[in-house]
């Protein structure tokens, strides 16, 4: 079932300036969570506001459950929205905030009472009905905003970066309660965020946007495992992108380092996206000779090992530089002469490394991607 369909949508804030949304086509599945993801200024919030009716459409159409709505004002679209700052009315109690939409429709007060209590119950805020918004915590305010949108039983609920004002711990709880409510009510949700981790965790369907266009869309796992472009790899999988080339034997080379073969790609320059887990640390093997003088030659300048000897086994030998402790794992800077940039950052679950330790890296197949080299814009 299609929840929202968007056809050739274009929006520019100023005439004759570059459009914020450029001829965009999109189908958003019903009863699912669709995340609009992208860096700031990519047009995701504008797209959300166009769907809500808070911005006027320049061209194209927006259909919600098969009905064209682009000519309707925001208050006639039946779309709920939860704002980044919650936008609770500061002069009304929690109850009045939630009842606001029902009262605008002129519903009888007994019915309002019942439905508001029900909505507050759904977000477990019944005891707070008579509080003012300022007396609530950020997470509670967020839930009031959610109840206020849901009490109208909207066809579609829009979330504009709803977790960005909450601390890390609260984000997890609120995110899970949003997801639980969505599943129990079968809501169609469009959720805007710039946080790929949040997107991967909450989405059924991710739409990755850049510069007013859709870069890639799909389910979270496919978005993560096969990013369609260098930008997608960078944004979805936090890839480190470097210049490389493909030689006549279809081998993918980063400088002198051969990452592996990639048949079917034309010879010439390319871009290589290296995922954080491209490199696997393996315990140094005793049979690999450590030549004297390797330690003294300084960071990034390990001498005496020939690249060929190691590449044959898929191994790079290096030395630990800086260490970033990150709780369950740590990131190590490994200095190695064979790596064109002189060093790479490697994630390790082993915490016992010290600066100066010798380590070996292995390139993992399938954890790097090759994209055509695009001329600099």
């Amino acid at each position: 079932m299609i929840g929202v369909e968007i056809k050739s949508l274009t929006k520019a804030y100023l005439k004759r300036s570059a459009p914020v949304i450029d001829n965009l086509n999109l189908r958003i599945p019903g009863s699912r969570v669709t995340v609009l993801l992208g860096p700031s200024g990519c047009g995701k919030t504008t797209l959300l506001r166009l769907i809500a009716g808070l911005e006027a459409v320049d061209q194209g159409c927006i259909c919600i459950e098969g009905e064209e709505v682009q000519h309707k004002p925001a208050n006639a679209r039946g779309v709920g929205m939860v704002f980044q700052n919650y936008a609770l009315f500061p002069h009304m109690t929690v109850f009045d905030n939630v009842a606001y939409g029902l009262r605008s429709q002129g519903i009888k007060s007994e019915a309002i009472e019942r439905r508001v209590q029900q909505a507050l119950k759904a977000v477990s805020l019944e005891p707070y009905a008579q509080r003012m918004p300022a007396q609530l915590s950020g997470g509670q305010q967020q839930r009031v905003a959610l109840a206020r949108a849901l009490v109208l039983e909207p066809k579609l609920v829009l979330f504009d970066e709803p977790l960005s004002n909450l601390d890390t711990q609260l984000r997890k709880t609120v995110r899970r309660s949003i997801r639980a409510l969505q599943e129990s009510l079968g809501l169609t949700v469009i959720y805007v965020t710039h946080d790929q981790d949040e997107a991967l965790r909450i989405a059924d369907h991710i739409v990755l946007m850049d510069q007013g266009r859709i870069v890639q869309e799909g389910d979270p796992s496919s978005m993560f495992t096969s990013p369609a472009s260098e930008f997608a790899a960078q944004f979805m999988a936090q890839a480190h992108c470097v210049d490389g080339h493909i030689d006549q034997d279809h081998r993918v080379c980063w400088g002198d380092l051969v990452l592996g073969s990639h048949p079917g790609v034309a010879q010439g320059p390319c871009r290589i996206a290296l995922l954080p887990n491209t490199w696997e640390l393996i315990t140094p093997q005793i049979d690999v000779p450590v030549l004297p003088g390797a330690m003294e030659s300084g960071p990034g300048q390990i001498q005496g090992l020939t690249g060929q000897a190691l590449v044959g086994r898929g191994l790079i030998r290096g030395q630990v530089g800086r260490i970033e402790f990150a709780g369950p794992f740590c990131d190590l800077e490994v200095l190695a002469a064979q790596i064109p940039e002189g060093a790479v950052w490697v994630r390790s679950s082993v915490q016992t490394f010290k600066r100066g330790d010798l380590v070996e890296l292995q390139i993992q197949p399938g954890r790097w991607f090759v994209y055509p080299h695009e001329p600099v814009k």
């Binding site: 808070l54 704002f83 500061p90 939409g101």
Partner: protein, 616 residues
């Protein structure tokens, strides 16, 4: 006065009314059409009302000014004569520089310019002194200074001028004392540039103080601390950090003071003597025997050009200062204490100023309650009784005093104009800060124009525009109310825009996505949040409408005499006693209304604002 010569024929009035309504209908349907095309968030109500408001501004602001510009080129028979406009604009009475080389007077334009520059600079300087005193030296001064800053707004504009006359005029207390004790006469020095500057210092320093207080409060104390930690002495910090940071705000205050000064009508009317300035000369060109509309238009356009130039420079300074000002105050930092000699001088100057101010005001009001100023200082209610006599005629009470008519008319018109302008200002501020539409920049430009144009210019333009078909409205109460609304509108729009911009846009948007209409959003979300600002706007509108004189003096007639213009008449006849007694009555009424409005509508609980801040 002038309007009375155009004896309004009722038929003409109704025809004009139909024209006006037709124009309104046209603009309303234009707005409605734009709303259907996607402007105004697709709200027909917003489109219609915005169209009406735009039509209102075009008809009652842009049109009269254009009409005045046209009159500049017309001879007395209404024929356009080439070169006439230039001749009038370059008139030697406006631009002559004779005073530099001989004893003759200089042109009115130079006089206004000089007065404006001196007054603007002096009031800003004094305002800065007072602001530093209340913020950094003597916090106990904050309340009395704040009160003295607001008081002049509750008084008719001639109180200061009359107070100075009571003190320094020919029959003034100080003059008399000097003559009796030392047989030395100060002469007529008060009537000229010196007296004008003195009066304007008393009149406009409160505004400069309010502006500079904001500037001083917004200085970031962390910069003082940084400079101290870098080893600078207090004097050096004052000179190299504090004063340079004040400069944009100070320039802004100077420009506002300049505009106030050149547009001032009340003080020059009393004190200018032979020092002719544009604002009053426009008036004298069209009253009495001269009746030279061409010359009045030329002066009006020169005055308008001065004011517009000042506004343009101000917007330049404001955009500049945006780079300088530092947003957000750090909570922990403490502003530096000023060096002792500086503190002492600031405090003494402030005390002196307050004492002088009290003297001027008390002598002004005393003038209404003594038998004859200069001769017989025995307390008397005679002036008050003369103006506001109430007689019993058989069974009816009769308001037989000659002042009653003007007072009641003024109250009536001000009570109409204040809510109308507050409401229009609310709508315009809301449409302009929240909605996208074609014509928004026109609306904004017109509101800036209304802010910059001096009242006398408006007044003379109104006579020219609304004395003849198709919009023949002079001599009617309607036109006076409209004129009052136009005069009050720009400041109301500014203050309400400022408040609306503090309310996060997402509150309106949330209301819209919850299915509320634009009207419901305005009533239930915006209105409760801006109510305090609305109260202020209502009060300001009422007080301004009660005390305005420059624009409406052209429009009043026997039927619609206003308090201020009636007082001007008394001053003209030298009847200072009644004029001052009347001023006291007006001040009393306005103060009472201010308290009443505050008590009825005011919401002093600051919790709302705190909630708004916490909610973000």
């Amino acid at each position: 006065m002038v309007a009375s010569m155009a004896a309004g024929n009722e038929t003409y009035f109704y025809i004009s009314l139909w024209w006006t309504l037709g124009l309104g209908l046209l603009m309303a349907s234009w707005g409605s059409w734009r709303a259907s095309r996607g402007d105004f968030a697709r709200s027909r109500l917003a489109g219609t009302s915005a169209g009406l408001l735009l039509g209102f501004l075009l008809l009652f602001l842009a049109y009269p000014l254009l009409r005045a510009a046209l009159t500049l080129g017309q001879d007395e028979f209404g024929k356009l004569v080439p070169g006439l406009a230039w001749d009038r604009l370059s008139d030697s009475r406006i631009w002559s520089l004779n005073c530099l080389v001989s004893l003759q007077a200089c042109g009115t334009a130079w006089n206004s310019l000089l007065l404006g520059l001196i007054s603007g600079f002096t009031t800003s300087l004094l305002g800065t002194v007072l602001a530093f005193t209340s913020e950094r030296v003597l916090p106990a001064f904050r309340k009395p200074l704040g009160l003295f800053a607001i008081l002049p707004m509750l008084m008719p504009p001639f109180v200061v001028g009359l107070g100075l006359v009571m003190l320094f005029g020919r029959a003034g207390v100080i003059n008399n004392w000097l003559e009796e004790s030392f047989a030395w006469s100060m002469g007529r020095w008060l009537y000229g540039l010196e007296g004008l500057v003195l009066a304007q210092i008393f009149s406009f320093t409160p505004i400069a103080y309010l502006m500079m207080r904001g500037v001083v409060q917004n200085l970031n104390p962390a910069l003082d601390e940084a400079a101290q930690s870098l080893g600078a002495s207090r004097m050096r910090i004052l000179r190299t950090v504090t004063l340079p940071m004040l400069l944009p705000g100070f320039s802004n205050a100077c420009i506002v003071g300049f505009i106030e000064s050149i547009a001032d009508f009340g003080n020059p009317l009393i004190l200018a003597g032979s020092y002719n300035v544009l604002a009053t000369d426009i008036f004298f060109s069209v009253v009495g025997a001269q009746l030279d509309f061409g010359r009045a238009c030329a002066q009006a356009l020169v005055l308008a050009a001065f004011a517009m130039t000042a506004i343009a420079i101000q917007s330049f300074f404001l955009s500049e200062s945006r780079h300088v000002s530092i947003s957000g105050k750090s909570d922990a930092s403490q502003a530096m204490r000023l060096p002792a000699p500086v503190s002492f001088s600031l405090a003494s100057l402030s005390v002196l100023w307050i004492m002088l101010l009290i003297a001027v005001y008390s002598f002004a009001f005393a003038g209404g309650f003594v038998t004859t100023w200069g001769r017989d200082y025995s307390p008397s209610l005679e002036h008050l009784m003369r103006g506001f006599a109430i007689e019993q005629d058989q069974s009816n009470w009769l308001l037989s005093g000659p002042a009653w008519d003007s007072l009641l008319t003024t109250l009536k018109l001000a009570l109409i104009a204040a809510p109308v302008s507050a409401l229009i200002a609310l709508l315009m501020a809301y449409w302009m800060s929240r909605l996208q539409f074609v014509g928004r920049s026109l609306m904004n430009g017109l509101s800036v124009l209304a802010f910059a144009i001096p009242g006398t210019v408006i007044g003379v333009s109104y006579i020219l525009a609304f004395n003849v078909p198709p919009f023949e409205l002079t001599g009617t109460g309607l036109l006076i109310v409209i004129c009052l609304v136009v005069r009050v509108l720009p400041v109301s729009i500014r203050s309400q825009s400022a408040v609306i911009q503090q309310i996060d846009r997402s509150l309106d948007e949330a209301s819209m996505t919850l299915g509320a209409s634009l009207l419901q959003t305005l009533a239930k979300v915006i209105w409760p949040l801006i109510r305090p600002a609305m109260v202020a706007a209502l009060l300001y509108g009422f007080v301004r409408a009660m005390t305005t004189e420059s624009a409406v003096i052209f429009l009043v007639n026997a039927e619609y005499e206003l308090a201020t213009t009636w007082i001007i008449g008394r001053i003209g006849q030298g009847d200072y006693g009644l004029a001052l007694a009347y001023c006291s009555v007006l001040t009393l009424i306005m103060t009472a209304v201010a308290f009443a409005v505050q008590a009825l509508l005011g919401d002093r609980r600051q919790i709302r604002r705190q909630e708004m801040a916490a909610n973000r």
